[in-house]
C-alpha cells in the first residue's frame, strides 16, 4: 500500500472532504449552538433542522460578484483568502486520526503544524493590508501582535510534551499515551507529571483560542470596534474562504489539543481505540470553543497581550523547567 498511487489520492480526497464538511457544517453547528445557548432555535428553515443551510449559504456566496474596491492591491487582495485556507488544510496531512489513518507520519510534524499556523496569520495580514481600509489595517496589526504573543507560550507548552514523549512526531506522541486516560499527557500518572500538566493543557487551550481568533480573543474581527476587521472589504467567496479558514483552524487546533494532551485516538477506559474516539474528542473541544464564544464578552487588546506576556509565558517557562527537572529525577 505504501508505494501505491492510490494512497495519496485517497488521502487527498479524504482530507479535502473532511475539511470541506467541517468548514461548512461547523458554521451550522456554531449557529445552532449559539441559538440553543440564546434560547432560540437557530437555523431551521432550509432542510431538516436547517441542515441544508450551509449549502444555501455556499450557493449564495458563490453566485455573488467578488467586488474589488478601488485603491486595493488587486493581486494580494484576491490571494489572501486562499492563503487563509491552504495552511489549515495542509496541516491535516500530518494529523493522526487513528493508528492507521494518517497521510504522512513525519518526524517533525509538530514543527510543521506550527510553521503552517504562522503562515495562516499571513492571510490576515495581507488581506487587511491589501484592503486599504483603516479598520482592516488596525485589525491586521492586532492579529499579528496577538498571534506572535500567543505562539510563544503555545510552543513552550508543546516543548514539555516533546520532552516527555521524546519525539516531535504526532503519531509517536499519541502512541506514547495509549492505554487509558491515566496515560494521557493531561493526567500522566507516571513520574509525577500529573501535578502540573493540566496547567499546560489550560495554557494550550487558551492559546489555541487566541491563535484561531476566537472569542473572547477575537480582536481582529471585533465587530463593534472594527466593523468586520480584516474582512471588511471582502464579499462573496473571499469572505467565505476567510470564514472557512477560521473554522478549519479551529479543527486543526482541536486535533492538535486532542493528540498532544488527550491521547489521540485512545479510549479513556480501555475499550477498542479508534478514529471515533479521536473525532469525539475534537468535537467536544470544538463545542467548548463555541460555548465560550457565546458566553463571554470580548477582552481588550492590551489585556490580551498582558495575559500572554505576563501570565502565560512565565507559567509555560516554569512548566518546561519542572518537566525537565522531573524527567531528570525519575
Amino acid at each position: 500500500m505504501e508505494t501505491s498511487i492510490w494512497r495519496p489520492i485517497l488521502y487527498l480526497v479524504g482530507i479535502m472532504a473532511f475539511a470541506g464538511l467541517n468548514a461548512a457544517y461547523l458554521g451550522w453547528c456554531e449557529r445552532k449552538g449559539a441559538g440553543r445557548i440564546q434560547r432560540r432555535p437557530g437555523p431551521k428553515e432550509v432542510g431538516f433542522a436547517g441542515l441544508l443551510q450551509p449549502l444555501a449559504d455556499g450557493i449564495k456566496l458563490m453566485t455573488k460578484q467578488l467586488m474589488v474596491p478601488q485603491g486595493v492591491d488587486g493581486i494580494i487582495f484576491r490571494v489572501a483568502p486562499v492563503i487563509a485556507m491552504i495552511p489549515a488544510i495542509t496541516s491535516m496531512v500530518v494529523i493522526p486520526f487513528s493508528g492507521n489513518i494518517q497521510a504522512r507520519a513525519m518526524e517533525l510534524s509538530v514543527l510543521l503544524i506550527f510553521a503552517l499556523a504562522s503562515l495562516g496569520m499571513m492571510a490576515v495580514l495581507l488581506g487587511g493590508w491589501a484592503s486599504g481600509n483603516k479598520y482592516a489595517i488596525i485589525s491586521s496589526a492586532r492579529a499579528v501582535s496577538q498571534n506572535l504573543a500567543y505562539e510563544i507560550p503555545m510552543l513552550l507548552t508543546v516543548i514539555s510534551i516533546v520532552m516527555i514523549s521524546g519525539s516531535m512526531n504526532l503519531r509517536d506522541i499519541a502512541i506514547d499515551q495509549q492505554g487509558g486516560f491515566w496515560h494521557w499527557n493531561i493526567f500522566r500518572f507516571e513520574n509525577g507529571h500529573f501535578l502540573y500538566m493540566w496547567i499546560g493543557f489550560i495554557i494550550f487551550f487558551i492559546c489555541s483560542l487566541a491563535e484561531t481568533n476566537r472569542a473572547p480573543f477575537d480582536m481582529a474581527e471585533a465587530e463593534s470596534e472594527l466593523v468586520a476587521g480584516y474582512m471588511t472589504e471582502y464579499g462573496s467567496m473571499g469572505f467565505g474562504l476567510f470564514m472557512m479558514g477560521e473554522y478549519l483552524n479551529i479543527v486543526v487546533g482541536a486535533c492538535l489539543t486532542a493528540t498532544l494532551f488527550l491521547g489521540g485516538w485512545d479510549c479513556p477506559f480501555g475499550l477498542t481505540p479508534g478514529v471515533w474516539w479521536f473525532l469525539l474528542k475534537i468535537y467536544v473541544l470544538i463545542f467548548t470553543v463555541i460555548w465560550v464564544r457565546w458566553t463571554y464578552p470580548r477582552t481588550q487588546i492590551y489585556r490580551l497581550l498582558n495575559l500572554s506576556w505576563k501570565i502565560l509565558i512565565p507559567f509555560s517557562l516554569v512548566n518546561v523547567l519542572v518537566t525537565a527537572a522531573l524527567i531528570k529525577v525519575f
Binding site: 483603516k134 479598520y135 473572547p216 463593534s224 470596534e225 463571554y296 464578552p297 470580548r298 481588550q300 487588546i301
Partner: protein, 372 residues
C-alpha cells in the same frame, strides 16, 4: 488617566466612526484623529437624522404634536409623551385626574425598565457579548406586550392626552405587571448579575475606564445615570418633583466611582427602583376617571412655560412659548443625550479605540433624540 505611551500629534490619521458603524447604534458620526489605536481627538458630528421636530410643532395645533414626541427618544417614548403633556397642561391650566397620574407613572416606569434592558443588551453587544441581548429582549418583550395591550403600540407610543391618558388599564394589565415584577426580580440576580455583572472580563473592560468627573458633568450639563455615576445626586423625580412621585417611596442610586462600571450599576439599580415604584403605584391605584374635561381646541394664554421629567437618559426639558393662538409659538426641547454626548470628545481623548467605544456605550446614546 496616565497614558502608557506618549501621544504623537504629528503622525496621525483620521478614522471616520460612522455614520454607519455597528457601535454607534444609529447614525452618529465621530471623527476620530488617531495615533495608532490611541485617540488624539474625538469630534462627534451630529445631524444625520435631523427631522426638525421642534419646527414641526409650530405647524399644527397642540394635540397634533403628541405623536412626534415618541419619535425622538424611541426607547423611552412615554417619558417624552409625559413631558410634553405636562408642559401643555401647565400652559392651559388643566387638572389631571389622580388615576391618570398613577397610570402615567406606571407606564413610564415600565418603559424605563424596557429602555434600561435594551441599553444593557446593546452595551454588552458593544463589548462583544452577544448572548445577553437575547435574554434582555426576552424580558423587554414582556413589557412591550403589557404596554401594547393598553397603549396600542409597542415602540412609538402616543398614549398620553392633555388631562389624562388615552386608555384605562384593566385587571389583566395589573396582574400581568405584578407577574412581570416577580419574574424580573427572580431573573435579575441569577441571569443579569451572576452571568454578566460579576464576569471578570466585563469588570476588566469597564472598571476604571471612561472617567467623567462631577466637574465635567456640570460643565456639559450631563444628567441622568451619567451624572449619578459621577456622584451627582440629581434626579428630576426627586429634585423637582412632578406627578405623583412625591407620594412614592424610592431611592436614587448614586455611585461615586465616575467610571463606566458606576454608570452600569446605576442603571441596574434603577431597574429595581422602577419595579418598586410600579409596585407601590399599583397598590395605591385610585378609582376614577382617566381623562379630564378638556376643550377640543386648546388656546393657552400667552406666556413661557417649562416642564422637566426624568427619562431613562436624564433630565428632559420642554420649553413652550405660547402667543395665545391655537399652535405653539415655539417649542424647544432640552434633550439629555445631547449633553451626555457632548462630553465624549473631552473624555475620549487619549483612550484606546476599544475603550472609547465601551465608554460610548456606557453613555446610552439614542441618536434620534440628539438630532430631533
Amino acid at each position: 488617566m496616565t497614558l502608557p505611551v506618549e501621544l504623537r500629534h504629528d503622525e496621525t490619521f483620521v478614522l471616520n466612526l460612522g455614520p454607519q458603524h455597528p457601535a454607534t447604534h444609529g447614525v452618529l458620526r465621530v471623527k476620530l484623529t488617531m495615533d495608532g489605536e490611541y485617540i488624539v481627538k474625538a469630534e462627534p458630528v451630529l445631524g444625520y437624522v435631523h427631522r426638525m421636530h421642534e419646527k414641526l410643532a409650530e405647524a399644527g395645533n397642540f394635540a397634533q404634536f403628541m405623536p412626534n414626541t415618541a419619535r425622538m427618544d424611541y426607547l423611552h417614548a412615554l417619558a417624552f409623551n409625559q413631558g410634553y403633556a405636562l408642559v401643555v397642561e401647565k400652559a392651559a391650566g388643566i387638572e389631571v385626574p389622580e388615576r391618570a397620574e398613577y397610570i402615567r407613572v406606571i407606564t413610564v416606569e415600565l418603559n424605563r425598565i424596557a429602555s434600561h434592558l435594551l441599553w444593557w443588551a446593546a452595551f454588552l453587544l458593544d463589548l462583544g457579548g452577544f448572548t445577553p441581548l437575547l435574554y434582555a429582549f426576552d424580558d423587554r418583550e414582556q413589557i412591550l406586550d403589557l404596554l401594547e395591550r393598553i397603549t396600542g403600540s409597542r415602540l412609538t407610543y402616543c398614549y398620553m392626552r392633555f388631562g389624562g391618558v388615552y386608555n384605562d388599564i384593566d385587571d389583566e394589565f395589573i396582574t400581568g405587571t405584578r407577574d412581570f415584577i416577580k419574574r424580573l426580580r427572580s431573573r435579575m440576580p441569577s441571569l443579569y448579575h451572576d452571568l454578566v455583572t460579576h464576569n471578570i472580563i466585563l469588570i476588566k473592560r469597564i472598571k476604571d475606564i471612561g472617567f467623567i468627573t462631577a466637574e465635567q458633568c456640570r460643565k456639559y450639563g450631563a444628567t441622568g445615570p451619567v451624572a449619578r455615576g459621577s456622584g451627582i445626586d440629581y434626579d428630576v423625580r426627586k429634585n423637582e418633583p412632578f406627578s405623583i412621585y412625591p407620594e412614592l417611596d424610592f431611592d436614587i442610586p448614586v455611585y461615586n466611582e465616575c467610571d463606566s462600571m458606576a454608570r452600569y450599576m446605576v442603571r441596574m439599580d434603577e431597574i429595581e427602583q422602577s419595579l418598586r415604584i410600579i409596585e407601590q403605584a399599583l397598590d395605591k391605584l385610585p378609582d376614577g376617571p382617566v381623562q379630564a374635561k378638556v376643550p377640543k381646541l386648546l388656546k393657552p394664554e400667552e406666556g413661557y412655560y417649562y416642564s422637566a421629567v426624568e427619562t431613562a437618559r436624564g433630565s428632559l426639558g420642554h420649553r413652550l412659548i405660547c402667543d395665545g393662538g391655537k399652535t405653539p409659538y415655539r417649542l424647544k426641547l432640552r434633550s439629555p443625550t445631547f449633553s451626555n454626548l457632548s462630553l465624549f470628545g473631552e473624555v475620549a481623548e487619549g483612550m484606546l479605540l476599544a475603550d472609547a467605544l465601551a465608554f460610548m456605550g456606557s453613555l446610552d446614546l439614542v441618536i434620534p433624540e440628539i438630532d430631533r
